[in-house]
Each structure stands twice: as structure tokens, then as C-alpha cells.
């Protein structure tokens, strides 16, 4: 069922010779690929790309059949082929189009077909000596499509970017003119446009002044026309020219009295589809997107010329009106396609240079299948397998937050068992350090604070030690009542108050679904489709959240032992009405149970809820790779898609089928070839930072770093306890990852960015700072520990170790590897040149601890 149970396929090492830098460099230096000598290019700048027929195959005309309905209905067609290297190329501009019957339709050179009369007609495209055909059925050309404000006017707004989140679609609009984001609410847009008024965050009523954007008496003088045509100053600049098609469309609408149109027969777009969903291109090439809208009442229409296109990285991918995508330089970008409040995305990869021979890269499990497949499509060759020492250090840090001691490193490097990595992973998964480390991690995920730390952290620790299924952990936390461990997250860090229902809801939705709803508290979400109604609907599940006795029972007690106090009611701030619980998808809980949060917990953890498993596998993934597949890890939304959506779904599915077993998930990740790649560069992966083509360095967290320094120097850190909670010190041997941040002041941890503000979800700051640099140079953590009597340095010296032995021992302790011969020679020479031997060895220890290799996991 799940891949890890199968015998592990060994990563094919034979690909390594292929990856020798010389091989690829040589390939790159050739002016034209030797395999396809006939492949040539048309160098004229505007013609895009053209290849002679020899290298091309799989010619196709898309769509191959279509039905058009209504007067002047139109459809764009694409001519595509696959070149010898497997890249899809767009030949639409090079194709000659013709029709079997010119009376029924007309076709333009770029493949745009417009219906004239009812009937069936065949479209022919000729390119490179091939002839392709598509069947077109035309109906209802005698009926003009009824006018609809949503489609005809709001479409103009969307296409021109007027209702984007940085313009009038922003929370409060712009320049006093508000539109719904990407046209999601045409009724409101109609009101703002025709009646005017100023949007108010906390009231459904519009405020003065009410000045319409249309002028029915002198239509040309409407601000709706003057501003975007820049005949009046406009903060958004010129959106269209006077007398352009969009200008005329708006003008005609105003001339007809600015009607809303027939709302009944109005066609609402239910979903958008774009072709292709993914485009792999070479720099300098172009291709066209095809966007189809599907209507609620059935039927579809080509919207390629009606929608808004936005590139996530215009330096990589540029999109012109009408959906012409141009690849500029190697990299990744997404094209967002928006219409009628709907969004679809195209993933674009611009490759540096297609590889004529992509080497065989075998995967070990389903993770690799998906990651390596994507790399192959992008013509990026992954790095080879990491060395044993690199793997050892990496996996020890990622599974246990702890560096392996020198003797373990020696042992592992000397082990000849081909399955030693798998054995190591099992050993780490079952170690006490694993439980310590993941308790620390979950203290971040689940917001452990001083006021709740004791019982709450014990509950987390015990859940992890027992390997409690994650969905059960989630249910216990979301539905928790009474006085037990999992209810303590309802407590605020500083004041000890119970969080307000909407705060608690916002946190649970972030933690368990990876969604940031917080913006929708005050207004509909500015970038996404979360509305204020959804926010308050789900908040209502927490309406009974209350503290019924001071300090002894924190939560609503539904056991009947206590008089049930009436919890705070949840009131919608704009509608000023009490809100009944409803789930984010708008559905209602099956029954009004005594504890509505139980129903919420069931809904959240249900296998049908796609967010639940994805949110946690994404967080766990981020632990192993430094970045989530969705990043930030708690910001799942259509506008922020996963880097590898199929992988995210596959991991979530595997996690679900594996019984929500966190160790099972981590095992699959740690065993994957993707995780075990080296950090080595080759000409194809040099610029890649998102496709997992090599291991990237990640800075150790403050706590992990401090524990590592203590281990390498052999000097434990003594942690003080704040006077506020009685003072004194933590017991000897306490590790930084075991601390409760608010009550254990530590200069080192603060300088390196521990999360301390814990009334909201803790976030960690990995940025370098001046204070870190100062502390590294002269701070006590480094200077004192290195020089301390009884520490590793002094022990090595008094044991009479040679310089060479000392260099090796310190390397093993800090970097989990032996020094290279060059390093060994150089460092021994430096020790000899030092003012004293002791000073030399101390300085070596400092050099190791200060190194990026030490400070980062890589």
C-alpha cells in the first residue's frame, strides 16, 4: 500500500559518471545539439520559434472539437507539437488556418475563429507539411447573448486589473472607489459603480459621499471612462485608451442607461480551465494560453481574451494580453489567470538548456518519483547521493535536533551494511532524543507558553512518545474540555486569560488547516475568497469557550458537574447579528451537539477535508527541507499554490492511509533519495532553489545551535530561571530545546532568534544580525565554553592528543566528518603558528563553531 514497505530500490549510482561536470559542460558548449543537426531556428524576433519538421512529432490542434453558441461566439485554437527533446512548442503563429466552409465562420491568422451562421464546419491548420483538423459546431447565431453586468462590465474591470487587491479590489478600495476582489460580487460592484458611496469595514452600509461613477446624461463624462483612459488623473495610470474595445464597451453600457441586465438568465462562471496547466519553455520562446470558462447552467466559452493574466515573476515569465506567455530567463514562475472571482494557475518552468540525454535517475519511493519527474521535465539533473557523513549529520539534526558524538560518527562511517541508512533512521525514530526534539517542534506548532507549559507539554510529549495518531491529537486539542493537557492552549501567554473565540478559531485553523483566516476577521480576505461570513461562522463553534472557575477548571465544562455558564455569544461585527456555527465550506454541523467543537474537530480531521493532512505533512516537510511545499507553511490558499502539488497530495494521502502516523511520514521523507541528495552543484541545478535538485543549507534554530555548541565544547549551558517565577537555575543538563522561552532568559537564544511573543503563533527569525556577529566574535557562549577547564579542548590537550588527532576529533564533533587532507595540513600549520598550542586549539574550535558548515544543516 505505501511505498516504504516495499523493498527499497537503491538509487542508481551509475548516473554519477554522467553527472561529472565535464560531461555537461561539454554539452553546453556545443553550439547546436549534435543529435538533431537539422534543428534550426528562425531568428526573426517576432516569429517566436520555428523548427524544421524533422525534430517535431505529435502535432495537434487544440481544441479538437468545440461547440459555439450565440452571435459572434469565438474560439482560439492552438497548434502544438513536441520537439525531439520532449518540449512542447507552440506553432500557432506559423500555421495557416482555413475552413471547410467560409460562410459559417471566419478565422484569423492567429487561430481565432468567429461564428457567423449555424452549422458544422471543419477548421484546418497546416504547418510543416502537416494538416490538422478540428470540428466546430455552431448554434444560435441568430440570438444575441443577453447583456449581463457581471460578464460584460465586471469582465472589463478584471481584465484591466481594476479590481485587483492593490487597486479598487483592496479591502477599502482605492481613491474612494471600491470593487469586489476580482469581481467576486458583481451585485456590490454594480452598487459602487452606479450609486457610489464609501465602503465601511465595520458596517454593511455605505458612507457618504454618494457620487456615481457613471454619468447617464453625458456618458462620455463618466468617471468610469475618464479615469482609466487617463483623461482625469488616475492613481492606477492608464488602463485602456479612449475608443479601445473596453472603452467602447463601457460607454455603450452607460449610454443604455447602465442596467444591471437580466440577472436571471445571467451566466455565472462556475470554474475556469486553462491549457496548458504547465509549460516548460526555453528562454526567448513564446506560447499562448487557452482559457475556458464553464457556466453554472452548462456550456462553456473561450475566455482567453477576457481574463486577467499575472506573472508571479515577470523577470522569468512575461504575459501579454490575450495570454501570450514569453519566457525570459531560466527559473520558475506561475501565471495566475483570473476572471469572475475565479483563479487558475499555470506553472511555468523556463529551462536553461534542454539536455539531449537526460541521465537515468532512479527514485527510492513515491516522493522521488514525483520530485525527480518534475526535475526531468525541467531538464535539471539532481545532485548525487550525499556522503555518509553528510547524511548522518543531516538526519540526526532533522530527526533528533542533536549532533552525533564522534564515536557514533566513526562507527557509522565504518559500517559496511548497505542498509545502514535505513537502520540509522529506525534507530533515531525510536530514540528518546526524537521525542525531546519533536516535543520542542510541536511546542512551536501548537503554541506552548509558560502559563500552560506543564500539563500541555506533557500531553504533547506523551502523544509523541506513544506515537498517537495525529488526527487523534488534533481532535483532543480542538474539542478539548475541562482541565486536561490539550485544553491549555486556550490560555493566553501573558495574562492567562482564555483566548477570545475568534482568536482561538484563527489559531486552530492556522495550526490544523494551514489557513490564515485572520484577515477575514475585519473584512473579506484581501487576496483570497475567504469572507467575513465564513470567518464568523467557524468562530461560532468557539462561542461557548469560557473559563468557569479560576485556575482550577479552565474550559467550558459540559459534564454537568458545574452549572453551565452561558458562554460568550459570537456576534458578526458588520451584520451585528449572532452567528450560528458553520464550516468553512459553508455546510452546517449535523446536529447542535452539546459541545460544538466536537463536530468541528470531526470536520477538521475528516479524510474529506483536504487541508488537514496537507497542513501537517507540509509542516513536517519544512522540518526536513527548510521550506514547506507551501510556504509560508500556514498560508494555504489558491493564490499561494504548492511548489509540488502532486507531491503534497501524495504525501497527505500516504499519511492518511498510514493511519496519521507521524513516524511513518518522517520515515518516508528521510528514506527518500530527495532527502538524501548531496548539496553538490552541476551546471543544471546551479540556480535551482525550489525543485529539490540538491540539498540546500538551512540555519540551525537558536536552541539547536546552542545545544550543539554545548556538545562540541563539552560544556553544558547553565540556564537561569526568571525572578518573575521564582528565580534560580534550571537543573544541570537541561537542554535549550527543553526550555519554556518566556521564563528562561538567555542572551544567546535571544540573539539567535527564539520565538518569544507567544500570544500568536510563534515564528522564528533566521536572519543574520549584527548582534549575532558581535556575539560570535566576543560573546561569552563561544569564548567561555571553548576555553573552559574540563571542556573538550582542555580534555584533548591534557590527554596528550597530537595536533592531528585534535583536528580530527573536533571535526568529528562539530561537522560529523573527517577533515580533508588539505584542511588537516593547513590547520595543523595554523596551530603551530599560534602564540601557544592551547590558543591555537581554542582558535581552531572557534573557527569550527563559527563556520557556516557548523551553523547550518546541509
Amino acid at each position: 500500500m505505501s511505498d516504504w514497505k516495499k523493498p527499497v530500490r537503491v538509487l542508481v549510482l551509475s548516473l554519477l559518471p554522467l553527472l561529472a561536470p565535464g560531461h555537461l559542460e561539454a554539452d553546453r558548449d556545443r553550439k547546436s545539439p549534435p543529435v538533431e543537426p537539422a534543428a534550426g531556428r528562425n531568428d526573426s524576433a517576432d516569429s517566436g520559434q520555428f523548427r524544421s519538421p524533422d525534430g517535431l512529432r505529435d502535432f495537434r490542434l487544440i481544441p479538437s472539437q468545440v461547440e459555439l453558441r450565440g452571435m459572434s461566439a469565438s474560439q482560439s485554437f492552438l497548434v502544438l507539437a513536441t520537439d525531439s527533446r520532449g518540449l512542447e512548442v507552440d506553432l500557432t503563429s506559423e500555421s495557416r488556418f482555413s475552413l471547410s466552409d467560409d460562410r459559417l465562420a471566419q478565422v484569423e491568422p492567429e487561430g481565432l475563429l468567429t461564428a457567423l451562421r449555424d452549422g458544422e464546419v471543419r477548421l484546418r491548420a497546416e504547418v510543416a507539411g502537416r494538416r490538422l483538423e478540428a470540428a466546430v459546431r455552431i448554434e444560435g447565431t441568430r440570438q444575441a447573448r443577453p447583456f449581463g453586468f457581471a460578464r460584460d462590465v465586471v469582465g472589463v474591470f478584471t481584465r484591466n486589473g481594476c479590481n485587483g487587491s492593490e487597486c479598487h479590489g483592496g479591502v477599502k478600495g482605492r481613491g474612494g472607489f471600491k470593487l469586489s476582489l476580482h469581481g467576486i460580487n458583481p451585485r456590490e460592484d454594480y452598487r459602487w459603480t452606479v450609486k457610489g458611496g464609501v465602503y465601511q469595514v465595520l458596517s454593511p452600509k455605505a458612507a457618504e459621499p454618494f457620487d456615481p461613477r457613471v454619468n447617464l446624461e453625458v456618458p462620455q463624462q463618466s468617471r468610469l471612462l475618464l479615469k482609466p483612459a487617463l483623461e482625469l488623473p488616475h492613481g492606477g495610470g492608464q488602463r485602456f485608451e479612449r475608443d479601445s474595445a473596453d472603452y467602447r464597451r463601457l460607454l455603450e453600457w452607460i449610454r443604455q442607461g447602465a442596467p444591471y441586465g437580466d440577472g436571471q438568465s445571467e451566466s455565472r462562471i462556475e470554474r475556469l480551465e486553462v491549457f496548458p496547466r504547465q509549460a516548460i519553455m526555453e528562454p526567448g520562446t513564446r506560447r499562448r494560453l487557452l482559457v475556458t470558462g464553464f457556466f453554472e447552467e452548462g456550456g462553456s466559452q473561450d475566455l482567453s481574451r477576457e481574463v486577467l493574466y499575472e506573472s508571479s515573476d515577470p523577470a522569468v515569465i512575461e504575459v501579454g494580453p490575450g495570454g501570450v506567455v514569453r519566457a525570459l530567463k531560466p527559473g520558475q514562475a506561475r501565471v495566475a489567470v483570473r476572471a469572475a472571482g475565479k483563479l487558475v494557475q499555470v506553472r511555468c518552468g523556463v529551462i536553461r538548456q534542454p539536455l539531449a540525454h537526460y541521465p537515468e535517475v532512479a527514485g527510492r519511493n513515491f516522493i522521488d518519483d514525483l520530485v525527480f519527474d518534475r526535475l526531468r521535465q525541467l531538464h535539471i539533473v539532481p545532485a548525487g547521493l550525499s556522503s555518509d557523513s553528510a547524511f548522518l549529520r543531516r538526519v540526526c539534526l532533522d530527526l533528533t535536533g542533536t549532533l552525533p558524538p564522534p564515536e557514533r560518527v566513526r562507527e557509522f562511517l565504518a559500517d559496511r551494511d548497505p542498509l545502514k541508512r535505513e537502520r540509522l533512521i529506525e534507530r533515531l525514530l525510536n530514540s528518546p532524543e526524537f521525542v525531546d526534539y519533536w516535543t520542542f517542534r510541536f511546542a512551536d506548532f501548537f503554541r506552548v507558553v509558560y502559563r500552560n507549559a506543564y500539563v500541555y507539554k506533557s500531553w504533547i510529549r506523551e502523544s509523541l512518545a506513544r506515537n498517537k495518531p495525529y488526527d487523534q491529537m488534533a481532535r483532543e486539542r480542538v474539542a478539548g474540555q475541562g482541565n486536561g493537557g490539550p485544553t491549555r492552549h486556550f490560555i493566553k501567554s501573558i495574562s492567562g486569560e482564555v483566548m477570545r473565540p475568534h482568536e482561538k478559531m484563527g489559531e486552530d485553523v492556522r495550526v490544523f488547516l494551514g489557513i490564515r483566516l485572520d484577515c477575514a476577521q475585519c473584512h473579506d480576505h484581501p487576496y483570497e475568497t475567504w469572507t467575513q461570513d465564513q470567518f464568523w461562522g467557524i468562530t461560532a463553534f468557539y462561542g461557548q469557550l469560557t473559563r468557569i472557575r479560576d485556575l482550577s477548571v479552565f474550559m467550558d465544562d459540559v459534564s454537568g458537574n458545574e452549572e453551565q455558564p452561558e458562554g460568550p455569544k459570537v456576534i458578526h461585527p458588520r451584520r451585528r447579528r449572532e452567528v450560528a456555527p458553520s464550516f468553512l465550506d459553508g455546510s452546517l454541523p449535523p446536529s447542535a451537539g452539546i459541545n460544538p467543537r466536537e463536530e468541528l474537530a470531526d470536520w477538521m480531521t475528516s479524510p474529506e477535508n483536504p487541508y488537514f493532512s496537507q497542513a501537517i505533512v507540509n509542516r513536517v516537510w519544512a522540518n526536513f527541507f527548510g521550506k514547506g511545499l507551501v510556504e509560508p507553511v500556514d498560508d494555504f490558499r489558491p493564490g499561494n499554490p504548492a511548489s509540488h502539488p502532486e507531491l503534497l497530495r501524495a504525501l497527505a494521502r500516504d499519511f492518511r492511509l498510514g493511519g496519521y502516523d507521524l513516524r511513518h511520514l518522517m520515515r518516508a521523507i528521510a528514506r527518500s533519495g530527495t532527502y538524501q541528495l548531496s548539496g553538490d552543484l552541476n551546471p543544471t541545478n546551479r540556480e535551482d532553489e525550489v525543485n529539490h535538485s540538491r540539498a540546500l543549507p538551512r540555519r540551525l534554530e537558536a536552541e539547536i545551535l546552542l545545544d550543539a555548541i554545548s556538545r562540541v565544547t563539552g560544556m553544558e549551558e547553565a540556564f537561569a530561571v526568571h525572578e518573575y517565577v521564582g528565580g534560580g537555575t534550571e537543573p544541570r543538563g537541561t537542554r535549550a530545546i527543553e526550555l519554556t522561552p518566556e521564563v528562561t532568559p538567555s542572551q544567546f537564544l535571544e540573539v539567535y532568534g527564539r520565538p518569544v511573543s507567544r500570544d500568536s503563533m510563534p515564528w522564528r527569525d533566521y536572519r543574520s544580525t549584527l548582534r549575532q556577529a558581535l556575539h560570535l566574535l566576543v560573546g561569552s557562549t563561544y569564548t567561555t565554553k571553548i576555553a573552559a577547564e574540563g571542556g573538550r579542548v582542555s580534555r584533548l590537550l591534557s590527554a596528550g592528543a597530537s595536533d592531528r588527532e585534535i583536528v580530527r576529533e573536533l571535526y568529528l564533533a562539530a561537522l560529523s566528518r573527517f577533515p580533508t587532507a588539505e584542511e588537516e595540513t593547513r590547520l595543523q600549520a595554523l596551530i603551530e603558528g599560534a602564540p601557544s598550542r592551547r590558543k591555537g586549539v581554542e582558535n581552531l574550535a572557534w573557527g569550527l563553531l563559527a563556520s557556516r558548515q557548523f551553523t547550518y544543516n546541509h
Partner: protein, 444 residues
Amino acid sequence: MNGYADQLACCRPRREFLRVGALSLLGLNLRQYLALEAATPAAARSKQKAQACILLWLEGGPSQIDTWDPKPHSRFNAIPTRADGIRISEIFPRIAGHMDKLAIVRSMHTEENNHPQGTHYALTGHRPNPALKFPSLGSIISRELGPRNNLPPYIMVPEHQETDFFSYMDAYTSAFLGSEYDPIILPDPNREAFQIPDLSLPDTLTAADIADRRSFLQAVDRGFRQKEKHAEFGRMDRFTNQALTMLLSPRVKQAFDLSQESDRTKEAYGRTRVGQSVLLARRLVEAGCRFVTTSGYAHGAWDTHKDNDQRLRDKLAPTLDQTLSVLLEDLQQRGLLDSTVVLAMGEFGRTPHLNANNGRDHYPDCWSLILGGGGIQGGRVVGASDDQGAQVAERRVTMGDLFATIYKAMGIDWTKEYVNPGGRPLYIANSIDDVMGQPLHELV
């Protein structure tokens, strides 16, 4: 998990792509930036503009009717001041003598009613939000003006004493602007063994040792650094160079060295946490800091829910009266008053009527603050409260207006917007309902 700083490029003024002053966007490192700054005649950039700002942070929120907006129902009398027609509470006799240098705003109107949120609001111009981080005034000024003379641009002295500080931290940080604009937080300078951590070489370490250590580091990391071109590595290199300059530069060290002040000066400021912090602030500003937040009052000292009058009369007012007056005199004597904005405020005001404990409670609707120096017109009053000191009667002033005033005094474009990593635009002078603040034209 990473990624926060990677999105820094989002932080740009809208519609002003070419006018950014940010180091990172210009692709300059600090040294290049400083060289550039040195090459630009200081006068060309900012003649007669304030170079620095000192915030006297009255943590807890002082009572407006007992300080700068005296009312008949205050237990304190109003006294005339050096500025014609301006009267303040009798508990500030020395400040009264400096009112020609200071302006009073009597119509501050803000939106948060509790300390952590109020502090966040007063120091960032935004209500706290679990989904968003906002840069503080000190961080914004540091970023817009950049560092001077190798000094960290933004310093806070002293650190808070209580653990509660953690819930306030968001009010002081650079948020998405970059860690170089976070405050450097210093310990209590009034302590016997006052020493800035990590700002001087320990006895066991010489400059030569550091050089020696760095050659070990280079030998260890050479191979790795050749392979990895992580952006953060380069940033850390720059900070390391800056740190070395600071550690080895006598000028930087002296800026923090209070022992260089005479006993007379120390006495004049007062041998208290507050007094010595304000004195240190003056030294730092003189040496090149852009923004210093000084406090030093006990946690919640101005939070007079109980015994308001007594606490003001016996403790709080005398301390503020002394330190602010001496600071103004000292700055003037050193020719720094025209280039240094001085601002004294808390996170809100207090209820105009006494509660059952003879105290006053939190009150953001209408309150007062004072500011001066840095070219800000002294001897003026902006706005007015009603008879009770309860509501704004004239010219509501918001935090955004106050920020805009300070920016204008410092030659910063107050109309600027940043865009946070999530794409949300933020005015650097943010007023109620996310509109742009306006400078107080009476003052700048």
C-alpha cells in the same frame, strides 16, 4: 520556514521604485553605503533637517489633565510657562521653563486601550494583528536615514525588567524591514557594573587573537563557501565586518561609555535608571544613532490605577521634570537641539475622572504629549480637548499625524508606503482606518 527575509524585496514604496533608499535594493553593502553617504555632502541631503530622535517612553500612559492639558478638576494647579499663554501642571516646574522649546499636542486620539496593544499602536501606528507584523517608528527612521558613523541606528535603553516584555517586543521591531533595523537593546546604565554585552573585547582576547581565529575559520569554511552562495552568508559577512569595526573603533566604544561623562553631568540627569538612560541616549545620538528609545521607569509606573496624584507628585513627575529639562539644556549647549527631535509620550492617556482608588484608568480617546527640537516649533499648542479633558474638541491628531510630523522634521518622505511580504501596502505614517497621516503644519 526561511523565506521571511527572502521576501524583503517586497518592501518598497509603491509607485516609487526608483526612489528607494533601501540598502538592499540598491545592492549596496553597508560599507559602500557609508562611503556613498560620506561622499554626498551632508548638507545636500538634509540641511537643517533633524538627524536623530530621542523618545522618552512614559510606559503605562500618563494622565493628560495632570500633565500637559491641565483642567480645573485635576488636583494640581496649572502654572504659566516660558511660552506665552501656555499653562501646564505645577508638577513640572523645570519643564515649564523650557516650554519655548516644546510643543504640546492636546488632541491625540488613538484606538487601543490596553498596554501591549497600546504600545504596539503607539510605536508602529497599527493595531496588532496576529497575521501581520508592522515595523516600529525607530526601525522606519533607521531604514529611511541609514546608519551614521558605524553606530547601530536604533537603540533601546534600558531593557524592560519584567517578563511581560515579551508581549511588547512586536512593538519595537523592524518586522519585515530587516534585522539591521531592529533595536539594539542595552542593559540598565545605572547599574554599578554597567557593560554593554558583546561590545568590547574580553580580557582574554586581543585584536590579534580575533584575526588569528578568522584565519582558522577561513581554512575550515573555504570549500563550503566556494560551493554555497547563500544570500544569508553574505549578509553575515557584512555584519561581521561591521561588528569588527565597532569592536575596534574607539569612537563606537566611547559612544557607549558613560564613564566619560563627568560626575556633575551624571548627577544632573539623576542617578536613576531613567536619568542614566537619557544621558546615554544623548551620547548615542551625539555619536550617530538615529533613534533611541529610553524608558527606565518601573514596569507600568505611569499606569496609575491607584493613587494617581501621589505617584505623579512624588515620583514620576520629578523624574521626568529633571531628565527632560536637563536633556534639553544639554542638547542645546552642545548644539544638538536643532538636529534632535525629542518626544515624550506613553501609549495612551488616562481617564479624566478619578476611580475609587484615587487612580485613573486607561484612556485613548483624547490625550496629550510633548515634543520639540529638530526644527519643531516650540511654544505651540496643537488641538484642544473639551472642558473635561475627555474628548477632542479641536483638531483630532492621530499617531499617523505624529509620525508624519517627525518624518517631515527628519527629511523623510512621510507619504511613503511599504509593501509587506504578503503584498499588503502600509503607510509609514499610518492613521486611523489605514489612511495616510499628515504632518502638523503648525509645528514643521
